[in-house]
Amino acid sequence: MTGAGRETWAWPGPEGPALEIRGLTVRHRGRVVVRNLSLTVPRGAVVALVGPKGCGKRILLRSLNRMAQEEEGVTVSGEVLVGGRNLLDAGVDPAEARRTLGLVLPQAPPLPGSILANLAFGPLVHGWTEDLDRRVDEALKSADLWEEFGERLDSPAAQLDRLGLQKLALARALALDPALLLLEDPTLGLEPDEARILEGLLRGLVPPRAALLATSSLQQAARLGDYAAFLLEGELVEFGPTPQVFTRPRDARTEAFLTGRDL
């Protein structure tokens, strides 16, 4: 694995968690939307974030890879540690934070141009030309697009169906060899059979990476999450192994949310 920029590459070391968030606070126009949040994502694990609309899960994901900070009025403090390195440090290039934590958006639109252009864009931006072919091929295989499109990478990306577009969004993130995937409602708008295919794909490709999954589907959190985190008004109310959180939540607010009662 060579390529320009590799030496500044932030990957978790062989030991320790994939990602550690310490004391993260996010303010939007002065209002606290994520409050002093600390959370550890173990290596190889999927941590599912659940919570009611407006609980802060979306802005949390986007602040980890410094996308939220691009928006006006958003300030972020705390630490986002990958391999002992704080991605929020002023010395870390935001682009590096973004490739380290690969964000997959719901109903992600493709970049203009071909499938190849979509996959090559990220590595080229980072100056990774040397092993571009291998990188593109691996991303296609991991995202289960190889069989169908391996021989016709020049097809326009816009021709893909909804499932294909989500796979492409995943492949774009994977082409940058992320330490962790940030998944924001990755199956939104997909039919149940398509969603199940994408979920199966995600389960297979997360280890040895890790994933932080913000989802509006409790069922999806239960199916995919090794751990579940419940967020309410920007506060991490509960975090634990998914079977525990879903069968014996410790906090009454978690119980109320999961069972659909008033919070």
Binding site: P192, D193, R196, E199, G200, Q219, A222, R223, F246, T247
Partner: protein, 251 residues
């Protein structure tokens, strides 16, 4: 229309559940065999090992309970998958109680061991054989998901009940004729009750197999060509307490 893709994690969890249930089934069947042998051969030595095995059966039942709850909470099984979970829960409960009945039979063997030679009692051996075969075949039907075989097991419950009544009549006559035979006869009576319960619980398991395969309940109803068995419910639990006392006998 193409089918929905399988959910690999759900299927894995269901396989683990099945695996634990079959492990329980093997142990419960073995416990009944050991209990019956200890009784027929008046060998009290098996009891200690049986207690250990029964404790493992109890632990497996709790594991099946826990896994079932998690499976429903996390994977929302439907149709056959859902039935597999419910059947596992109920059969695990039946198997745990079968283990207790086997232990009670071995306890009776221990009590009888000090009572010197006892008269031959072929009817008792036959009752034990019938109950053991019902259990064996119910568990076989569970392992192979064979509804036809399960129905056939349900139909045999009557034969066990008849045999138990015959044993009861013989024992009553014996006690009336020879009061010195009362203590031993009471032990035989208890064991016959335990064996009848094992037959009932085997019927329950067989009914669960039909529910699993066909999605319909045959409990509490007579089916053509066979009998929807009476349920061995809570009230029909082990006839003996922890020490094997028969309710109503003051013992």
């Amino acid at each position: 229309m193409s089918p929905l893709p399988k959910q690999p994690r759900l299927q894995e969890e269901l396989e683990i559940l099945q695996d634990r249930l079959l492990a329980m089934a093997g142990m419960a069947e073995d416990l009944v065999r050991q209990g019956v042998e200890a009784f027929l051969e008046k060998d009290p030595g098996a009891l200690a090992a049986m207690r250990e095995a029964d404790a493992v059966v109890d632990e497996l039942e709790m594991e099946v309970d826990r896994r079932s709850v998690e499976l429903v909470a996390l994977h929302q099984p439907v149709a056959t998958d859902l039935r597999r979970v419910f059947v596992a829960l109920r059969v695990a409960n039946d198997l745990e109680r079968i283990g207790d009945h086997a232990l009670n039979i071995a306890k009776a063997a221990r009590r009888l061991a000090g009572q010197g030679p006892l008269p031959e009692f072929p009817e008792m051996a036959e009752l034990a054989l019938l109950a053991r075969r019902m259990l064996r075949d119910a568990l076989g039907a569970l392992g192979t998901r064979d509804a036809a075989k399960a129905r056939e097991v349900c139909a045999r419950d009557d034969r066990v009940d008849e045999m138990r009544r015959a044993v009861y009549a013989i024992l009553t006559a014996r006690m009336q004729a020879d009061p010195s035979a009362i203590a031993a006869s009471m032990e035989f009576l208890r064991v016959s009750q335990q064996l009848e319960r094992i037959g009932d619980l085997s019927t329950n398991i067989a009914e669960e197999v039909v529910f699993l395969v066909e999605g319909k309940s045959i409990k509490h109803r007579v089916e053509q060509g066979g009998k929807g068995g009476k349920r061995a419910g809570k009230g029909g639990g082990p006839a003996e307490g922890a020490d094997g006392a028969v309710p109503g006998t003051g013992r």
